[in-house]
Symmetry: C2
Subunit: 375 residues, 2 copies
């Protein structure tokens, strides 16, 4: 299902950034961009941004960057990924009941539309920002971290990510979500001794040995932790289990894959130490992890962002971000970062993924207010 941007049969996609954010979202959604196949959409974003002479545009692989160079004392980065999870027979997009349905509507082309709208308004001079701005559109967020465009950029060109505040437009339902929890995956391996199932007393059943591992998980009391005024809720879960050699064999190995989501008061090293404590007596190997990010809402610019973005909501709420997001990549570079996007995180990756049109409109207004408010 790949889109091959340079083949003769594909015409280039022209994005009209002057259209309302809701229409722009639909246009973005209708350009398939499953992870690894973002080139055509990145081409369209790059071409659209290059029309504005006051934006400095760079293309690095399928990452597109745009910057203002207004010599303002502070800089805000607006980041979003162009890719989606695989299409699930849910394209092209369609509107029903005030919602736009389709793959990527929520996660996160509605957010990308807000980025592009802000670029258009700044590019045309309709909007005068109070800070310099950096736009980052990147690829491969939905797949392994080694291919994540923002991750690669943070390793190879960290200066391009530098800012006083980063807003990652991942779906938050138009709420401000601060920081993010860390995530660590580890493998607990049980070793038995293989035998024929007809003479099972000659073996040691590795699957049976997993009983106490699963019991510890079932009994695990997950923490709720307050960090910088936000409440994080942890979780420790088996996300996979495998064991078995054949239908007539006592298996000699069973593996439980666990996923620990940890609050921003723990580093990755502390998270690993905790896992080793929970699974004391068992063989545990960490397979991958990503750090948490403190919400950083004590910073002045972050406070202004919260006032403008959360203030647009009835309750003016700021919530802890529980899922891991790329805000952690900014946090690792010392850039305070928050999540703010019109998509609904509970609909991400679902066949019936959708986004509420009114939330796109309300979020756009709030974002533009922040970018132009003097604080």
């Amino acid at each position: 299902m790949g889109v091959h941007p340079h083949s003769d049969t594909d015409s280039a996609l022209a994005l009209d950034l002057s259209r309302p954010a809701t229409e722009l979202t639909a246009a973005l959604v209708d350009c398939e961009s499953v992870s690894g196949d973002e080139a055509r959409l990145a081409d369209a974003v790059e071409a659209a941004l290059r029309r504005y002479p006051n934006l400095s545009v760079q293309r690095l692989g399928n990452v597109v960057l745009a910057r203002t160079e207004l010599c303002l004392p502070r800089r805000v980065a607006l980041a979003g990924h162009l890719d989606t999870v695989p299409i699930a027979d849910n394209l092209p997009s369609r509107i029903a009941d005030g919602r736009l349905y389709g793959c990527g509507t929520s996660d996160m082309k509605a957010g990308v539309a807000l980025q592009l709208r802000a670029a258009h308004l700044v590019g045309t001079g309709e909007l005068t920002p109070v800070t310099d701005l950096t736009w980052i559109f990147y690829d491969c967020e939905e797949i392994e971290a080694a291919r994540n465009g923002l991750n690669l950029l943070s390793q190879t060109r960290p200066e391009l990510l530098q800012a006083d505040l980063a807003i990652v437009l991942e779906p938050t339902n138009g709420l401000v979500e601060g920081g993010c929890q860390g995530t660590m995956r580890a493998q607990v391996t049980l070793a038995g001794r293989r035998s024929h199932a007809a003479r099972s007393w000659l073996g040691v059943n590795a699957i049976h040995l997993a009983a106490p591992v699963l019991q510890r998980l079932a009994d695990y009391p997950a923490r709720e932790v307050e960090v910088d005024g936000l409440t994080y809720r942890e979780g420790l879960n088996a996300v996979g289990i495998t064991g078995g050699v054949a239908g007539n064999v006592v298996p000699d190995e069973c593996t439980v894959m666990v996923n620990y989501r940890f609050a921003p008061d723990r580093t990755e090293a502390q998270a690993e130490a905790h896992l080793r404590e929970v699974f004391d007596g068992f063989e545990l190997r960490v397979t991958d992890s990503a750090p948490s990010a403190r919400p950083g809402l004590d910073q002045p610019l972050a406070k202004q962002a919260v006032a403008a973005l959360a203030g647009a909501l009835p309750g003016g709420e700021v919530l802890a971000k529980l899922g891991w997001t790329d805000v952690a990549r900014f946090a690792a570079l010392g850039v305070p970062a928050l999540n703010y996007g019109p998509g609904d995180p509970n609909l991400a990756h679902k066949v019936d993924e959708s986004v509420e049109l009114a939330v796109i409109e309300r979020s756009e207004r709030a974002l533009l207010t922040f970018l132009t408010s003097s604080g």
Copy 2:
């Protein structure tokens, strides 16, 4: 790796049944016959048997049958499968330390060699049997029951299996093993509710729900049961477990596959009832099963067989057969059946599979004694 018996490049294999059983075993082993590819070996067996005018030979698919029609009051069937598990770089056969090594040596071409030796001696008149004899060489024993040649024969031509005693020459290390335990596989399914691992309290982790299932297996007290004077030892084991959707998802399903080996005092229905009792409160589905077979050693002909075969051993032992074997197919037709073969069951299906040459020789003598002893 298939052997295509009718292609121009393959020459037919000629088996010389006048050679000692040890040499004959090596010749059989060196003719690859992985399940499904038995045709070339079946051709060779058929051709060898057709040389004896006093044997009535039939070919049904890759099953080869031979019978004497001496109008003797009783009939003994000698059954063995021609197929092996896949080759594991362990062919051709080789002799070392008094053992013949190679795929199928133990399971069960040494047994097939004894069948063929008996056929040769009866066919040439060197041996005068005291019962009529039926030889059954069949295919696909190592794979699913639906393809098992003896199983198919028992369904389509059960009269060909009729006998007063069947000896299945599966590996028993030259001991007499009576009856066989039944085997039943069942799937215990745990149903949870899927959620993102970052918000795991919205889901129900199906893998965690498997903890008590594994604990019951770990705690299970397996029965030891005496049936017709032989002691059977049961076993209940997880032979497989699977669960998990993705590394960031609380899984909604986990499946534990269990294998119950049950003594011949239980029918399949009773075995299933027992499993439902053990896993009371859980969803259980029986996926396949095969009945047990009572040893039937109270029958006169079986007693004579035990005297001749077990009597050849220092201890004169008769043991309960713990693994499931095709003796159950005879038992289901009312034919008492026992296992007796020179192979070593503990080496079956192993890369270093081998058979002790002295056991082949000793087992052959004992078998011939039984076939000629008037009782």
